[in-house]
């Protein structure tokens, strides 16, 4: 299966392809995104920008197959979405916009990060090597010392880093980040956007990042997609 995935990855030039995709929320007559055509090259960093309600998060969730498109075709590494979504998602990391957990959340930081490996392991069981990967991911985002803390007792910024570590521990070929800096301080934001994301792309990962902050552009950003009213209004490459 892994060989097949690697072959598919090598064969396709584009990591994500959307052809005339429109997505509606249940019960809505107006589409959340309309007639989206987009091709995202492998090993690139794409920034999706636009005001609130422009369809950025809907686009990310449609790419992952979490929302089913009413029309159009989506492919991730050649896999049809949502038909083959489970297979495609195993190669993806995702940092959702709504990451905050209540103080009573009964999971520790390392358990939450370890969950990122569950879908890719037989029966979801982690071994000693997997736990080493968990600590490496925590170390990468600078929160190794919080490993045993309950996740709900952390600050918003720390919780966002936990979710970042969870996405990274999967060693994804496609990383989808929804407003990844919304709770981070300036230094963390700088480190992640300038150092971490750049090294991920250099290592072969494709990153798609959503942000409402048009003024902020990470280093190595090769494609900027502007959205408004559920439509792509501009695509510019750097």
């Amino acid at each position: 299966m892994l060989k097949l995935i690697q072959k598919t990855v090598e064969k396709d030039k584009f990591c994500v392809e959307l052809q005339d995709v429109s997505t509606y929320y249940s019960g809505e007559t107006k589409p959340a995104i309309t007639n989206v055509w987009l091709k995202i090259p492998i090993q690139s960093l794409t920034l999706i920008v636009g005001p609130n309600g422009s369809g950025k998060t809907t686009l990310l969730e449609t790419i992952l197959g979490l929302l089913k498109p009413k029309t159009g075709k989506i492919k991730i590494f050649g896999y049809d979405i949502p038909k083959m979504a489970v297979e495609a998602r195993k190669m993806c990391g995702y940092l959702p916009q709504d990451f905050m957990r209540p103080p009573g959340e009964p999971f520790s930081v390392k358990e939450v990060v370890g969950m990122g490996l569950a879908s890719n392991k037989p029966f979801g069981k982690l071994n000693g090597k997997d736990w080493e990967m968990v600590y490496d991911a925590l170390n990468l985002v600078g929160i190794e010392d919080l490993a045993n803390r309950p996740v709900g007792r952390l600050s918003g910024g720390q919780q966002q880093k936990v979710m970042f570590a969870r996405a990274l521990v999967r060693k994804p070929k496609l990383l989808l980040l929804d407003e990844p800096f919304s709770a981070l301080d300036e230094s963390s934001r700088k480190f992640i956007s300038e150092t971490l994301l750049s090294s991920l792309v250099e290592d072969g990962c494709t990153v798609i990042m959503v942000s409402h902050d048009i003024s902020f552009k990470p280093k190595r950003c090769s494609l900027t997609v502007k959205m408004n009213f559920g439509k792509i209004v501009e695509v510019s490459s750097t």
Binding site: S26, G27, L64, L66, V86, E87, A88, R89, K90, C92, G93, Y94, P96, G104, E105, P106, F107, S108, E111, V112, G114, M115, G116, L117, A118, S119, N120, K121, F123, G124, K125, L126, P150, R166, R170
Partner: protein, 279 residues
């Protein structure tokens, strides 16, 4: 004879109680308590139907519960209504069916022992056959939860994120709902249809008072479910009260104890924080 009866009832209580405690935690975390309501009352309706058609109440209850677990998701999708709403609709339908089946069942209705077993539970309902099936269910349940704990815990934390990472959330959810339905059918024989939720949710509520980690909460709830069942069966024998009611009394007493311990612990923690900050 009596000691054999007590032993069977205690064994059934130990297994059904611990499974219910665990199920209560999982259902609460997955926010599917209303599904548990619907499946429990489906089991109740199935058991009541057995009084009319003469079948095995466990088998019919199980069939109703499993069928409900399977169809609730598709009904919710088809009608485009939340799962909670679909569950409560089915809950009402099953309640209505239960009363109709009880009324049309042959013989004296509410006074009969069989009806009493379904509504209020009875340790007389614990037969060797029941024990064998319950033991099998316990083994399947424990194997499923322990084997797939990595993925189940990911779903318990955030089902949408688990789905985004390639966990087949629907399969695990439906399996857990089906297992919850099966557990409810067996607990129903001891506690009765109206009090089955006492074993499902009171031990879970007590466990949350005592533990802060999900694994510990699951273990504690299982243990407290077991303890509630044993206390209930014991009280039922001593006082000759319905076993379901006695289990509720036992479980609620444990909850009161757990809440007290939790309050004392919190106060002690606050004291420690005060002393540390003064230093």
């Amino acid at each position: 004879m009596i000691s054999g009866l007590i032993l069977n009832a205690i064994l059934a209580g130990v297994m059904a109680g611990s499974l219910c405690g665990c199920t209560g935690v999982l259902c609460t975390r997955m926010k599917i308590n209303t599904i548990a309501f619907a499946t429990a009352h489906a089991a109740l309706a199935g058991s009541a139907l057995s009084l009319v058609v003469g079948g095995d109440p466990i088998f019919l209850g199980l069939m109703f519960a499993l069928l409900t677990a399977v169809i609730l998701g598709p009904i919710s999708d088809y009608l485009r209504i939340p799962l909670d709403m679909a569950s409560m609709t089915m809950f009402s339908v099953y309640n209505a069916l239960t009363f109709i089946f009880l009324v049309i069942s042959p013989g004296a209705t509410l006074a009969s022992e069989k009806v009493g077993q379904i509504l209020w539970g009875s340790i007389l309902a614990v037969t060797p056959k029941y024990l064998i099936i319950l033991t099998t269910l316990t083994i399947i349940y424990v194997l499923f939860v322990t084997t797939f704990w990595g993925r189940i815990s990911s779903i318990l934390f955030n089902p949408k994120l688990a789905e985004a990472e390639g966990v087949n959330v629907k399969i695990y959810m439906y399996t857990l709902v089906a297992l919850a339905g099966a557990v409810t059918v067996f607990a129903l024989r001891i506690t009765g249809g109206f009090l089955v939720f006492s074993l499902l949710f009171i031990p879970a509520a007590s466990a949350i008072q005592l533990s802060e980690n999900i694994r510990k909460i699951v273990f504690t709830a299982s243990f407290l479910g077991l303890a509630s069942a044993i206390v209930g069966v014991g009280l039922s024998f001593i006082l000759n009260f319905p076993v379901g009611s006695c289990i509720v009394i036992g479980a609620t007493t444990i909850l009161a104890g757990a809440a007290t311990i939790s309050t004392i612990k919190r106060k002690q923690l606050l004291e420690t924080v005060k002393v540390t900050s003064q230093i």
